[in-house]
């Protein structure tokens, strides 16, 4: 077995050294009746690399590959071009096969990367500080709501109808058990976001208002007024960003008064991967640092006075504080954070701006062409690289029909909001730099047919 270095002579020699006569002597603590003497029935035996690769290749070929067809899906996961060097970097064994940096003297690589990552995230979000990553955007969102609760000592959160429905579901699931109250609503196929509803709903029990920017339909609303209204009542504004590339072009939530900004980092460096692993970004004002969940890398000096980095403020964390910890998170998403920071370093201020502009320009062009299809209308006044179309037909079957034509034409709101009649005809279309003019031609043609 290729992954097992011990040879049979090794095993015998070691058993002898231990003073055991057989391996079973080492399993004496397992009650006889619980011990399996033989192999588990019905499972295959070990296989060669060639055989395993063949099997996995066969499975992979049963999926339609985004890069091989006209592709327009978004809604929380975006397809961007990731430079080849990013994948090379994350495959360095010293990054790939190391553990959480508990021994800083031999983990400066990971620790400096995390310190750089935290700084990039904080600046991108317009906040003072950021942590070293969470599982993903949806879990980071719930952690932010919890954190707002700890800070305000209130437990009523108001969620924007523009918040990704999966994020809402996660919050709803958790709130049931923590006893938090959540105000939620479904979005409307309308250019207007629900800023007014949110502002109206804020009261003295409100811990936070949670707003996605740009929102699930691609709309971009000013967070300033919401922040003011929240602050006026001692509540916090939690902003959620599912497409960080947008921040190359539009204002950072922190600049507009958001107290906690969380989001999904997937679209920079990570890739689609059928939904995971992704990387949660988490930033806030410095004054809230002790209420923050997750790891934090901090600067210090070593015994010779050389600059170095360590994991710090761990008195917030489960391994020190146990049931009093700010979160139960342990393993987070450091390798994806590395991919994110490496890609963002390659982009830099200039590259991110260019990438964002390119995305927006392509999206604008595509929106115009698609909205020109008879019966199809664009609901957005504003958007970045994703917008919502109202079709003359139900969008969900339309998407399946387009698959028949080899086009992955977008995400139907029917998939995201099952059973919500008012949203049934909504199709969310994302257009990134990876979309070619030919792709848009194909989508337009397909959409015309299914709408005809």
């Amino acid at each position: 077995m290729r992954y097992l270095p011990l040879s049979d002579p090794d095993r015998s020699a070691m058993l002898a050294a231990i003073g055991a006569t057989s391996i079973d002597d080492l399993f004496v603590d397992v009650p006889k009746e619980a011990r399996l003497d033989g192999l588990i029935e019905g499972l295959p035996l070990h296989a060669s690399e060639l055989a395993v690769e063949r099997h996995m290749t066969a499975l992979s070929r049963k999926n339609m590959v985004a890069g091989e067809v006209p592709f327009f899906l978004g809604c929380g996961a975006y397809r961007h071009h990731v430079p080849a060097s990013v994948d090379h970097i994350i495959q360095r064994g010293e990054f790939l096969t190391s553990y959480t940096p508990y021994q800083p003297e031999i983990a400066q690589g990971t620790l400096q990367v995390l310190f750089e990552f935290q700084t990039q995230v904080a600046r991108l979000y317009g906040c003072d500080i950021a942590n070293a990553s969470m599982y993903d955007g949806s879990t980071a969102c719930w952690e932010a709501i919890q954190m707002a609760g700890r800070i305000t000592r209130r437990n009523r959160a108001i969620l924007s109808s523009g918040l990704h429905p999966h994020y809402v579901s996660v919050a709803r699931t958790m709130a049931r058990f923590t006893g938090d109250t959540l105000e939620t609503a479904d979005p409307e196929l309308d250019a207007e976001t629900d800023a007014d509803r949110l502002i109206a709903a804020i009261d003295e029990d409100t811990s936070c208002v949670v707003v996605q920017y740009p929102d699930i339909l691609g709309r971009i609303a000013d967070l300033g007024p919401i922040a003011e209204a929240a602050h006026a009542r001692g509540a916090l504004l939690v902003a959620v960003v599912t497409e960080p590339v947008a921040l190359g072009l539009i204002r950072a939530p922190g600049e507009m008064g958001a107290d906690i900004v969380v989001g999904e980092g997937q679209s920079i460096g990570v890739g689609l991967q059928f939904g995971g692993p992704y990387v949660g970004l988490f930033a806030c004002a410095e004054k809230f640092v002790r209420q923050m969940p997750g790891r934090l890398a901090g600067e210090t000096v070593d015994a010779e006075g050389k600059r170095g980095f360590v994991l710090t403020l761990s008195t917030r964390e489960q391994h020190i504080r146990r049931e009093k910890a700010t979160s139960n998170i342990c393993t987070s998403s450091v390798l994806c954070a590395l991919a994110f920071t490496a890609h963002l370093t390659l982009l830099g201020e200039k590259g991110l701006r260019q990438l964002a502009s390119l995305n927006h320009a392509r999206a604008c062009a595509a929106a115009e062409r698609l909205a020109a299809i008879p019966g199809v209308s664009l609901i957005n006044d504003s958007f970045f690289n994703e917008f919502t179309l109202r079709l003359p037909v139900e969008a969900r079957p339309a998407v399946h029909a387009m698959v028949e034509k080899g086009v992955l034409g977008g995400v139907s709101l029917g998939r995201l909001y099952p059973g919500v009649k008012a949203l049934e005809n909504g199709l969310v279309v994302a257009v990134t730099e990876t979309v070619t003019d030919e792709d848009v031609d194909a989508l337009e043609a397909a959409l015309r047919e299914v709408c005809a």
Partner: protein
């Protein structure tokens, strides 16, 4: 293999290293140990490592929210970026470099086949919201992996979406709480052994429970009597780690489960240590109700410096109905992903969704490739070799280090030692840092809390006897120094990229982001 492969006798201080001591470089570099600045210090304004067109967003439709100030992101050309991260990587220790006996973390070899498989376009370049007919292969991966996990654990159902062990613990407790609520029996307490990993109590609290702890007995196991005494009707669940965090199997596990069930509560098993028993014992046979499996431990998905991981949770029949969404179901010869929409029909009692999308697909493909490579026979061998390696270390060191539970019999996949007998104020930390100089990653220190100055050594099955012998030789030499109160241990490590770092300073004046010197000044 000799302990000292370069076949050279330890150099007397006056030679080589003397000259090194007297050499100071202007760069701060030391040959292949290279100092690397921060990207912010390397930045020169508009540099970028990509070639993108400057497009004019004349007709911008950004709702009037165009950025009005720079972000402050540094940019590097590709050569600088590749060099930056390569240099930094070289300041890390990793499994690829050597023994990484971090107890409780199962740092085993990460096969490169799994990396290759995870990057197949059919897995890596697929969107989670693609219509299901276009992702049947992905759903099949989830389904095949799920079946392996069920067969290996002897359980009834598995929730695949949890993103790591702690997330899996949460999943398990939420199933338990849902089951209790379903029978209108709200309970408020979760019992957790003193020796439990921090995520156990933290998760219980996160799920809205109060935590009480159960003591350990002399033999490093759960004190069954104390546990039974506490099993009143306010107890919702007992969280037990088995093999436990002292690297020992809980022989009373089945009896404990029965007692817990008799008291109307549920048994959550922390499966982080499943590596010791995979293919040898089915947790389902021990009466547990829920257990998470760290794919990034037992099933070798790379730890990546702190994740991503994946923590599927296997469930008993009693908890199966409450499993979270989404999940994969076979309908004829088609696989369906059951999401919110259909939960009504299929899964009325599911407690809901724990994460966006469907879980850590990238970890599923790796874990499945790993499992198929080992097969049923290989996985059983994994457990046996990991236990053999740990016991070999235990018996090779028990004469020089205090092994609190060595008398009570063999250990499982981890050997635990205490700092008893260390002299002159030498600590577990000092020993750990000296191991760094010897070229090893230290073991887990000061965990579990039930052993004084604990050193928890988990070699895993992917270490050769030669590697263990070298580790043992290093440990014996350091242990001897520790017992003789050798002061120089306090100076270790001396060969690492950094000497010991000032953690107090880091926590007292937290510097969590880089600030350009000017700003930093201003900030003070």
């Amino acid at each position: 293999m000799t302990v000292n492969p370069s076949g050279w006798r330890p150099a007397a201080p006056e030679s080589a290293d003397k000259q090194a001591a007297e050499t100071v470089t202007v760069t701060g570099n030391r040959a292949l140990m290279l100092e690397e600045p921060l990207i912010f210090e390397l930045d020169r304004g508009e540099t970028t490592g990509v070639d993108l067109p400057e497009v004019e967003n004349s007709g911008a439709r950004l709702g009037g929210l165009e950025r009005n100030r720079p972000i402050g992101l540094p940019g590097l050309s590709e050569p600088e970026a590749v060099r930056h991260y390569t240099r930094l990587s070289r300041q890390n220790y990793a499994i690829d470099l050597g023994l990484f006996p971090l107890g409780s973390c199962t740092m085993k070899h990460n096969p490169r086949l799994n990396e290759k498989v995870a990057r197949m376009p059919g897995f890596a370049d697929v969107h989670p919201l693609q219509p299901q007919e276009t992702v049947q292969g992905a759903l099949q991966v989830i389904n095949e992996l799920a079946h392996w996990l069920l067969d290996l654990t002897g359980m009834q159902a598995v929730a695949m979406s949890p993103k790591a062990g702690a997330h899996g613990e949460l999943c398990g407790l939420l199933c338990i709480r849902s089951a209790l609520e379903a029978r209108g029996d709200a309970r408020s307490i979760v019992l957790v052994p003193e020796s439990a990993h921090g995520t156990n109590p933290a998760t219980a609290a996160f799920a809205g429970y109060r935590v009480e702890s159960i003591p350990a007995n002399k033999a490093g196991r759960v004190d069954f009597e104390a546990l039974k005494a506490r099993l009143r009707e306010d107890v919702a669940a007992v969280m037990i780690t088995n093999p436990n965090t002292c690297g020992l199997f809980e022989p009373d596990m089945k009896a404990i489960s029965d007692a817990v069930h008799a008291a109307g509560a549920f048994v959550y098993c922390d499966g982080a240590n499943f590596n010791a028993i995979v293919g040898k014992v089915r947790p389902g046979d021990l009466g547990i109700d829920a257990m998470h499996i760290n794919l990034h431990k037992t099933f070798s998905t790379p730890h990546g410096g702190g994740g991503p991981g994946s923590g599927p949770v296997v469930l008993s029949a009693a908890l199966a109905p409450f499993a979270p969404l989404p999940f994969v179901e076979k309908k004829g010869d088609e696989l369906v992903l059951v999401e919110e929409e259909t939960s009504g029909e299929h899964h009325a009692s599911s407690f809901g969704r724990m994460t966006a999308f469907h879980g850590q697909m990238g970890m599923f493909t790796r874990a499945l490739a790993y499992i198929l490579s080992h097969g049923a026979d290989g996985l059983r061998q994994v457990a046996e070799d990991s236990v053999l390696n740990a016991n070999y270390v235990l018996r090779s060191l028990e004469d020089v280090l205090d092994a609190p539970f060595a008398q009570s019999g063999p250990c499982m996949h981890e050997a635990i030692f205490s700092d008893r007998g260390f002299a002159g104020g030498v600590s577990t930390l000092d020993l750990a840092k000296a191991l760094i100089d010897e070229g090893f990653h230290p073991m887990t220190m000061y965990f579990p809390l039930v052993v004084h100055g604990a050193m928890l050594v988990e070699p895993t099955e992917t270490e050769s006897k030669a590697a263990l012998d070298q580790f043992i030789a290093a440990m014996r030499s350091i242990a001897a120094r520790a017992k003789s109160g050798d002061e120089s241990l306090k100076a270790a490590p001396v060969f690492a990229p950094r000497r010991r770092l000032d953690e107090t300073l880091a926590a007292r004046k937290p510097v969590l982001v880089y600030r350009e010197p000017e700003q930093a000044k201003a900030a003070e």
